[in-house]
């Protein structure tokens, strides 16, 4: 046992235990809040908003609490690994779920206050359609010209 070991029953140990208990309560409360939110919110994006609270903040609280409770070196590192891992992966999965939800029309558009993606996509589609129409008009014009040239050639042949 090294010089910095916390003696069980000392004031420091009591303080750490209390802080851990508070963090446990807060983390568990976030899990409950997320459950209620996910059951009550109206559409996918709102539910994702509710679900991400215990995933990152709640988990960080619970892992900190556990680290304060157990106070062993390698356990603390493992818990840090859990939190880091969750912080890296939660945005990825949230992005993929949100994107799939938008693409498969699971998002209620009447609930969106700002919808920049739809605006941008509409602009791009309109641009593309305009370009296609232009190309088609160009092709028709060229075909007409060819037709005229051929007719002129035919007439020249017939005349000669």
């Amino acid at each position: 046992m090294d010089a910095f070991a916390i003696v069980p029953g000392s004031t420091v140990a009591h303080v750490l235990d209390t802080v851990a208990a508070i963090l446990f309560l807060a983390g568990s409360f976030l899990v409950m809040v997320a459950g209620i939110g996910i059951a009550r919110f109206p559409d996918l994006l709102a539910r994702m908003h509710a679900a991400t609270k215990p995933q990152s903040l709640g988990l960080a609280m619970l892992m900190t609490a556990l680290a304060l409770e157990i106070r062993t070196g390698n356990v603390i590192w493992t818990l840090l690994l859990v939190v880091m891992f969750q912080l890296f992966t939660a945005p990825v999965s949230a992005h993929m779920v949100g994107r799939a939800g938008y693409r498969t029309r699971r998002v209620r558009e009447d609930l969106l206050r700002i919808d920049e993606l739809t605006v941008d996509l509409d602009a791009i589609n309109a641009e593309r359609e305009a370009r296609d129409a232009e190309l088609e008009a160009e092709a028709v014009r060229r075909a007409n010209e060819d037709e005229a040239v051929r007719r002129a050639d035919d007439e020249t042949v017939r005349d000669s």
Partner: protein, 158 residues
């Protein structure tokens, strides 16, 4: 950790998990379910942490790592394969519809057998299979819906 704190935390986590399971059951889409399952995973993580803190067991800590990993893989996989499907295809068949589907399949098999052995043809005339493509709006007959499903399953899905 005192038993009072443990009990309060347990109630919080249990209530959260119960609500999340309600959403898993209700749907309406796979993405809603996967988001709810993430919350369930978080609840399980919280439970393991609580047990580990109460009993001072450090061997449960690797379980936390594994759980955090598994939740990520699950949601990413389902989000990757989320498909656009109409309400009609998404609903679960009722008992009568399932029976009608079974009947239809049996009849088709008989037709096929009759076609392969014309001399041994049964009394049933060879019926043309129902048109698989129905109208977009309005609920199609269950037989056609389930037939389309069967075809798609046979093709390995698209």
């Amino acid at each position: 950790m005192s038993i009072v704190v443990l009990a309060i935390c347990g109630v919080f986590v249990a209530v959260g998990a119960a609500f999340a399971f309600f959403r898993v059951e209700r749907g309406p889409s796979m993405l809603d379910r996967v988001v709810a399952l993430d919350v369930v995973t978080a609840a399980v993580l919280a439970t393991v942490a609580l047990v580990s803190a109460h009993t001072k067991r450090t061997d449960l800590v690797p379980v936390l790592v594994v759980l955090a990993l598994v939740g990520f893989i699950g949601s990413v996989t389902i989000a990757r394969f989320a498909a656009q499907e109409s309400d009609d295809e998404r609903r679960i068949l009722t008992r009568e519809e399932a029976r009608a589907l079974e009947e239809q399949r049996r009849r088709e098999e008989e037709d096929e057998a009759a076609r392969e052995h014309p001399d041994r043809a049964g009394s049933r005339p060879t019926g043309r299979p129902a048109d698989a493509r129905g109208t977009r709006d309005g609920v199609r007959p269950a037989r056609e819906v389930s037939r389309e499903r069967t075809l798609r399953r046979r093709d390995g899905g698209t």
